[in-house]
């Protein structure tokens, strides 16, 4: 009995924080999402969102951009994490610092950097123009490509570090065994390391996916108002047109969407560890 009291005392700051900063606001959001103009209960906000091709288009853009971003993060993150795991400890430390360093700068500042690089006359369009691929007025700003580039840069550290944690635990002797049995380096990577690293890749991808469907700063700055995503649409409804109930309904839809994406992962990892 005393043990339980001690446990509770230890957990209470966390529980309190969760209750006040998470559960309470979520409950309020759920309530707001079903309040109508006259104060009664209604599902009109959900109907408005789910029956309008414009809003469904926003959902579709958010999902497919997030999938592309996640794929890029995994494809770039896995080899990077593997190299980091197999490097000497001091080199690994430097690589980790290198990966984490961008996180020390605000996303807004980094995104402004991309705006300079991707805009008309910026480094990338200018180089492409000099090489002769594109016209003088070419710009990458306000394109979906810009959103993907910016988001991959923001999310890559999260994916890489998740994968790194798992790759570090893979027994090196398994790779050595594979090589002595005659498998090439790439075959070893594909048949031994990749399957063993899968939990890390899944966890990292999931992190990247959930962060990118709910991200708002980078898509709104790099994509602009003509490429709306869900989080941007929620922001507009909440702060610009002051339709709080509609904003809450959109947030509920986003929350449910993220939970749906999480379910197969939880099942999958439960099977692996359970």
């Amino acid at each position: 009995m005393r043990d339980r009291a001690e446990d509770l005392a230890l957990a209470s700051p966390g529980i309190l924080l969760l209750a006040f900063a998470f559960i309470l606001p979520i409950a309020e959001m759920l309530r707001l999402s079903i309040v109508g103009h006259d104060g009664g209960t209604t599902f009109e906000h959900f109907t408005r969102f789910l029956t309008d091709p414009y809003y469904l288009g926003i959902v579709w853009r958010t999902i497919y951009l997030s999938i592309i971003i996640t794929l890029f993060c995994a494809i770039v993150g896995f080899p990077l994490a593997y190299v980091m795991a197999r490097a000497t400890p001091s080199l690994r430390l430097w690589l980790i610092v290198l990966i984490i360093l961008p996180l020390m700068t605000s996303v807004v500042v980094r995104t402004f950097g991309w705006m300079v690089l991707l805009g008309r006359g910026g480094l990338i369009p200018f180089t492409l123009w000099k090489i002769g691929f594109v016209g003088r007025n070419f710009t990458l700003m306000q394109t979906e490509a810009a959103i993907v580039i910016g988001m991959v840069q923001v999310l890559l550290p999260f994916t890489t570090l998740s994968i790194l944690g798992v790759v570090m635990k893979i027994d090196r002797r398994l790779e050595e065994a594979s090589r002595t049995m005659g498998a090439s380096f790439l075959a070893t990577l594909r048949t031994v390391v990749l399957p063993l690293a899968m939990p890390g890749i899944l966890a990292g991808s999931l992190l990247a996916f959930t962060l990118s469907v709910s991200s708002f700063v980078t898509p709104s700055l790099l994509g602009g108002v003509r490429l709306p995503v869900i989080a941007g649409s929620i922001y507009e409804s909440a702060t610009k047109t002051l339709e709080w109930n509609f904003a809450a309904a959109q947030s509920v839809i986003l929350l449910v969407g993220v939970l749906l994406a999480l379910t197969p992962y939880i099942k999958l990892s439960g099977r692996r560890h359970g």
């Binding site: 602009g224 108002v225 047109t241």
Partner: protein
């Protein structure tokens, strides 16, 4: 629990009574809009007023929509003495009885104001103490020619170099309503405006904030954009060759008003504060510091400055305003229609 809270509140109230010195200065509570605006507001109005009348002025930063929301919430026990609006909220506030009427005789500067600035007094609204004019910003170094009218936005000479502002931005909304008007629509019928904007979208960039507009003029080779006159000055200060032109069809104006909050004990002092905001000296300061146009005819501006604001009877006669009540009633639907139009 409730008893405890009220006990605590009573204690706090007692403490604050005890803490107040017996000969406290008179105090006014006002709102300002934050940032550079609030700095200048303090320098031009608030600090000189405190000195002149030996009173305290407490400033709470609240934008117009927020300020209106606070007034509504505090209806039973208002906390502000003077409230400033820039989005036409005074029309709504007056109708709801949140702000009190001021008679022209009570303001020494009232007789010097242009008629449009005191028009609202009869409806129980405060006077207009400054104007932000909406027109065309253009890059004088790069644009092939100087624009003269709103219809020039559709001139093929500017194709691919036009910047439009999202309607979630209030300057953007006014710019769009003007384009709509030029194309034959009105607030209740925005279709002509949407049709016309549709034709522009292929060769235009749409931004949603002022810094993005700056970025487009600085790096993205923008030539022309409907926006506010005071922001043209901000861009010039940042070293960009941007000039402001009043469109020949009319100049939509953002009226900055100073309003007397209803049911407050210190209304005489509040009226003095509002009157002070209307003086020629203060308005000259607004024009000099931020390029807001004066509403006081007696305001003297030197020649260079006069060219950068709406100044003089003739220029002022071009100012126009969309009815704030209509704008408020149609804002959400117009913005949603706009978002659907511009989404790719």
């Amino acid at each position: 629990m409730v008893a405890n809270v009220s006990k605590a509140a009573a204690l706090l109230a007692l403490a604050s009574v005890l803490a107040t010195p017996a000969f406290a200065k008179d105090k006014l509570v006002i709102n300002s809009y934050g940032g550079a605006y609030e700095q200048i507001h303090r320098k031009l109005v608030i600090e000189p007023f405190q000195k002149k009348y030996d009173v305290d002025v407490q400033v709470i930063t609240a934008y117009s929509a927020d300020a209106l929301a606070q007034l509504r919430a505090q209806k039973a026990a208002p906390q502000f003495d003077v409230i400033h609006f820039s989005g036409g909220q005074e029309v709504v506030a007056a109708r709801e009885g949140l702000i009190g009427p001021i008679k022209a005789e009570e303001l020494t500067n009232a007789r010097d104001l242009y008629p449009f600035a005191t028009e609202g007094l009869a409806r129980g609204e405060g006077p207009v103490h400054a104007v932000a004019a909406i027109g065309l910003l253009y890059n004088k170094d790069k644009a092939p020619k100087k624009p003269a009218k709103w219809a020039d936005l559709w001139d093929p000479a500017y194709k691919d170099h036009v910047v439009l502002t999202d309607l979630s931005n209030s300057y953007g909304l006014l710019g769009f309503l003007m384009m709509n008007k030029v194309k034959g629509g009105d607030i209740k019928n925005p279709e002509p405006g949407f049709e016309a904007v549709k034709g522009l979208l292929g060769g235009a960039v749409v931004v949603s904030t002022s810094p993005e507009l700056q970025q487009n003029f600085a790096q993205n080779d923008a030539w022309i954009a409907p926006y506010a006159q005071d922001y043209a000055y901000t861009l010039r200060k940042a070293g960009l060759p941007i000039e402001f032109v009043q469109g020949a069809e009319g100049t939509p104006a953002v009226y900055l008003t100073a309003n007397l909050v209803a049911n407050r004990p210190n209304q005489e002092l509040a009226k003095k504060f509002i009157d002070f905001s209307l003086s020629a000296e203060v308005q000259e300061g607004w024009a000099r510091e931020l390029r807001y146009s004066p509403t006081n005819k007696a305001t003297k501006l030197d020649e260079a400055l006069a060219k950068e604001v709406v100044y003089g009877e003739q220029a002022v006669s071009g100012l126009m305003r969309f009815n704030p009540l209509d704008v408020d009633a149609n804002r959400a639907s117009i913005i949603e229609r706009w978002k659907k139009l511009i989404a790719r």
